[in-house]
Subunit: 445 residues, 4 copies
Amino acid sequence: MLQVAFLPREKVFRDPVHNYIHVRHRVILDLINTPEFQRLRRIKQLGTTSFTFHGAEHSRFSHCLGVYEITRKICETFARNYPTQNAHDGLWDNSECLVALCAALLHDIGHGPYSHTFEHIFNTDHEQWTQKIITSPQTKVNQILRQVEPQFPEKVAAVIAKTYPNEQVVQMISSQIDADRMDYLLRDAYYTGTQYGTFDLTRIMRVIHPYRSGLAFEIGGMHAVEDYLVSRFQMYQQIYFHPVSRGMEVVLTKLLHRAKYLYEKGEMAGFEMPSLLIPFFENDINVSDYLRLDDDVLNTYFNLWRDHPDSILQNLVHRFLDRHPFKSVTFVPGQEDQLQEMRHLVQAAGFDPEFYTAINNSFDLPYDSYKPSAQEPKTQIEIMQPDGSLQELSTISPIVQALAGRVSGDHRFYFPKEMLADPTHSQTASCLSAFQAHIKNNALQ
Amino acid sequence: MLQVAFLPREKVFRDPVHNYIHVRHRVILDLINTPEFQRLRRIKQLGTTSFTFHGAEHSRFSHCLGVYEITRKICETFARNYPTQNAHDGLWDNSECLVALCAALLHDIGHGPYSHTFEHIFNTDHEQWTQKIITSPQTKVNQILRQVEPQFPEKVAAVIAKTYPNEQVVQMISSQIDADRMDYLLRDAYYTGTQYGTFDLTRIMRVIHPYRSGLAFEIGGMHAVEDYLVSRFQMYQQIYFHPVSRGMEVVLTKLLHRAKYLYEKGEMAGFEMPSLLIPFFENDINVSDYLRLDDDVLNTYFNLWRDHPDSILQNLVHRFLDRHPFKSVTFVPGQEDQLQEMRHLVQAAGFDPEFYTAINNSFDLPYDSYKPSAQEPKTQIEIMQPDGSLQELSTISPIVQALAGRVSGDHRFYFPKEMLADPTHSQTASCLSAFQAHIKNNALQ
Amino acid sequence: MLQVAFLPREKVFRDPVHNYIHVRHRVILDLINTPEFQRLRRIKQLGTTSFTFHGAEHSRFSHCLGVYEITRKICETFARNYPTQNAHDGLWDNSECLVALCAALLHDIGHGPYSHTFEHIFNTDHEQWTQKIITSPQTKVNQILRQVEPQFPEKVAAVIAKTYPNEQVVQMISSQIDADRMDYLLRDAYYTGTQYGTFDLTRIMRVIHPYRSGLAFEIGGMHAVEDYLVSRFQMYQQIYFHPVSRGMEVVLTKLLHRAKYLYEKGEMAGFEMPSLLIPFFENDINVSDYLRLDDDVLNTYFNLWRDHPDSILQNLVHRFLDRHPFKSVTFVPGQEDQLQEMRHLVQAAGFDPEFYTAINNSFDLPYDSYKPSAQEPKTQIEIMQPDGSLQELSTISPIVQALAGRVSGDHRFYFPKEMLADPTHSQTASCLSAFQAHIKNNALQ
Amino acid sequence: MLQVAFLPREKVFRDPVHNYIHVRHRVILDLINTPEFQRLRRIKQLGTTSFTFHGAEHSRFSHCLGVYEITRKICETFARNYPTQNAHDGLWDNSECLVALCAALLHDIGHGPYSHTFEHIFNTDHEQWTQKIITSPQTKVNQILRQVEPQFPEKVAAVIAKTYPNEQVVQMISSQIDADRMDYLLRDAYYTGTQYGTFDLTRIMRVIHPYRSGLAFEIGGMHAVEDYLVSRFQMYQQIYFHPVSRGMEVVLTKLLHRAKYLYEKGEMAGFEMPSLLIPFFENDINVSDYLRLDDDVLNTYFNLWRDHPDSILQNLVHRFLDRHPFKSVTFVPGQEDQLQEMRHLVQAAGFDPEFYTAINNSFDLPYDSYKPSAQEPKTQIEIMQPDGSLQELSTISPIVQALAGRVSGDHRFYFPKEMLADPTHSQTASCLSAFQAHIKNNALQ
């Protein structure tokens, strides 16, 4: 039996995006106060993006509160307007509220520092770590969830894993229009100071509707949903895929690679030895190791490596901490031979191409209808007519039809900014000229 | 002769407060790209305030760009509307523009991690460090400034020190209504998500006016100036003096004290030894040492000290990283005896009062007219009539008169939250009851 | 017995200030759809202010919806958090909700065109007309209210008259911090595009609290209440008392006077005869006459009077419709003799001073504590301590103390702009020079 | 030779959308102060839309100031960054600034009351009237423009007519991304309180670029241009085509038709005779007649017609003034027979279908590339590469490609709300049932 305890008085957190975050369940407040959740204050939401959009220094902590708040609003609306009467009416069973709220709050608890970059190098997966942190008996999060009922941690983890039986709950947290995406678009727009991510959340909250297999949106709010999808598309194009942020991400990747390489060669020692990273270098990580890391820890090791004798590590650390991103050009598949030539020119100019060049591809599928044969089939967005019948969004919205199923993004080749210097006063004039001859309008010719 | 080089094309930084930060001088862009300036990305603007207002995770980097931008706008207005014709007309000499911009950008470059807390413990002063960083030949900032002209670093430092001969420039950066304060009020309001700090910057920019001894404001905009002062008052009361943030600040102070104490006792070793803090513990700090520190470095040492054998250090680190602020009550001078009793009760409950209690006073003078006899006499705000005559603001504004010369804030006594636990189930029931009997309506009885 | 019918589904109106206005009671929707309420679309909220702040073209219709919405939010909060348990506990009796909502919605229904100006000339009082419209059986509003219960119109009217027994309801609609003021400050700030009127409504909604004799505000939100009072003060100084808007108001007053004078002399005829104004000229007005008037009717008669043979009427109409406000200077009591001289100079320049000069005084009392001996004693603002005890706001807030009991505003003398023309090229050079010699810095010397 | 006089000091108008409108040219201030321009205060920007979005009560006056301000910003940017060096370099000739500003300010001066509705009935065309007002010697606008130079009015009128030789000026005022559209989207979004119309004007102002044949946009801002087009599309779908506003427009149309019909039959007399409309009924309109009309005049005649003996006129007036819109269903071409049946049922229920039913189609082409063969070929949007080459927007933007050349909107059939009443208690039960059987999900079956 679920133990649902309420606070004697609702507690609120001031939030610039949602104005207030409202907490009435004691378990939610307790989860926020765990070390695992507080750690998220030390992990930036947007990784290297704040090197391009300096305002975007917000953390995953804020985002997770926001996802919780949107989920809370959906549950509140559902409980008031669409309470289930019997098991198969497709309406909302409010005893599912707490599992939804906990999953919303904790959905990113497994994120590591500089999330995606770090994951690639150390083969960690934040969704799996999220589940592990929730279900491991030694975490405070787990202990608090267990007080609700013994199987509660597994239920919350199942929502993250999308195996939870109630599809409405799963889609609130994870679908093509979920609380996670809605919060990060609004929040990232607010903190970057751009307007691309804004859409009418209040209207969406008014038209969201449970049905047997998940969530639908009444047709009266279809344009708000369209607007959300266009906002998401624009945020990817303008913010998340920004070539300068990716230039910093490439520096970070190379820097971590170099550190690992030096560790493996036994060239890390003294204050430069990154004690908290050893489990990652050794590929033997437990939950406790994982939870010690955050952006600050990485930055501090980088700071200490300013004194490291390896000149490449030192140089990459300088590029990262002092913000000297690699530069880039776009290219299209088929131009790889040309890239090979360019790498040779980078080498000739004195930079080891393994650590000073990279390919970085950024692609996103703004929206897709349900494709059972896809690798990860997406839950499509359903629009509800006044009589309750459903239609897949792209069949009635020309603007969504334009975005649907259409991957968007680019391929970029990254290299040191020095390659774009004016060749006339350079010792490596011919390299630079040859290199620059490959480029026109910021693209490979 | 001043070397003023312009960028081939104006560069902009997207900013959520000012929309865009505009850079046309090459030296400004070069200063932004120094390691010293980039370090400010790793120092939060509001220290422990983000533990209360989770949105306020912005750094001094953003703030410094903002102060620069406001100063740039003032210079632009002055150059267009009030260009000097002869040496003594009290109008604006635009050859002062660059020194003003550089001082604005760099005014906080000497901030250390968790600024004020850190300063108190290690006897550093951020304004002095700012001047030192600007004038020390080994910094990149100094090298770039020297390219303008050999004495340029000293000029910029003089603006910070308020000894620069042009009072207009000094007051732009430092007065009761300066670019610094205007930016931080707007920015902190934006990031906390509160509205107390908003005022009409555009209107102030329209009515600001140079005169012989500094800056004045045309009477048509007097209410915008009033509004700015009220905003500032409110931000102090509501945000900067928030008792919970101060409760975290107290934890941080105690934690650094304990670390210093342990270092001095020789109980720091291995990975727990904070190599970058040694110069501070030894009180032998050079510019290079100073510039290695940032919030991330402190947080990382705290993180490593989770394993330290000293239980008080470990406990304080846990309180800080996992956000368990000390609680507080207000008191008034004269109640010190009572505090002494309460400290004894804290001790009886098992907490060393040296590391678990503190007095924290927060006071601010929202505005004052010029008082030549004051310790640091303030430049008063002058209102300009249509015929050019000046009147001190509080003589014509009743609302400012109400704030003028009136210190505002409170005295608080801090202690562990455990002292407020329900005594009935506690082993230290009588201590807790006795302690709690001193308190009513969050104040000392 | 109260007949409270709900709509099958909540209806919303998009609102720029409150985002949405929510309607669940059928009677509220029915009241909105009455001719009496729809008439408010044709009466500007701010009269002649939009001649100064061109954005402020909003009507009383929008404002009334906003007052309703704030009242609805207060009731909702009270019903959730402070439901009464017994008759004398000072908590909220939610059966009072509907009377509060109706009074909020209808509180301005008796406003005439260009409210205050019109009232002065025709001796109408909008609060009395509001009550009359609510209680007169022939209005649609009355018929709808009567369906709730036979005495319901009288109850609603009693709230407007402040004679309703439940003080909480009365204070929601009419006190020093009521739904009316809160809406108009936010709304007028939004539409003028100024920020003076913004304050933290959400926070106030969180700390508002019923008590035996009305409404109180928890101390945690005291600064939000302070901010509201400062906002109100600023809006009066900056917007409502703007001398240019008053210059248009003076033109309007003179124009209506002239029209009445001509009507009385029998010089209105044909298309220039303002049929709908006759009852007002004759001082024999019934409810139906009253409800025929709106801003558009007045403007249209003015438009028709462009062809009127009387040159003063024609000229005043031109000044009003084509926006040529009278100019003004401030003066202080005691300078009346000087004004008399100035009127003679206006006359000498060719303008009848009865229709071309005026004194206009604008004063407001931003806040006052309860003064039983005052003509209209004000309900003071009560702050609630954690233990439930109350303190009058100005005793604990220095900023409110500064505003309390202090009337603020100015005396102005109005005259035609022509009096400020450059005398050198004028036929009436000596008049103008003599007139202008009285003025310095926009004030009477 | 152009007489360009500047004000001694820049004048500003506070504006909620652009913050301030800046005026430096005396001629601009003089134009604003003409009766012709002031008349625009009495014509709502969005006609019947404020019946649906009650906040949207703003006038064409505000909009025209906004269009002026955006044009001013474009000119300022061009003058600073792209000043022409020789006649054929495709850069900006700043001596064109004043004609652009005047055309921007005056572009809507020919609008009549309830613009489009009125135009249809009385066969007036606001663009032709705009040119006529500008070029007619008796208007104040014309007299002021002539002071600049004798042919100046004709130049300004040529910009409106798109025959002015400088394509850059023409496109500022009238193209697929012009100052007119940019202002109305932002303004209408602000006043309705929706967010659909917001886009990043500041960014567009940064990337706009003159070229030989008009205006182009640098590729770095392409997404801001996309966002503008999507915003425009959404505003049409959500706001401008809202079926309820069109339901009021239909009532208005029928009401004016009925009035004309009664006038022609000689059934208008006494106070009900709309003297100012006679020239329109007689189809003999001069500039002076035209300029007498505004929304207030129409509303006032409607108000007077509440007493008209014709019951249809009286009823339609009641529907319009008291907001009882006709209801509607969508249909598709080919369903006209069904509509005919429905009209019969409307008649059977007691409503003359000529005055109580209507077809209303609303269609818009969100964007199109240049189609020389189209009736009114559109100037396409050009994107500029770093090397200066141009590409038509839809060829590189998938989202614009989706919108391009695709007409969007719907066909609706309007009828009295009474037709949707519950048939059970009705005297015309069978009519209503038969009528309602045609409808499903708000569409014709």
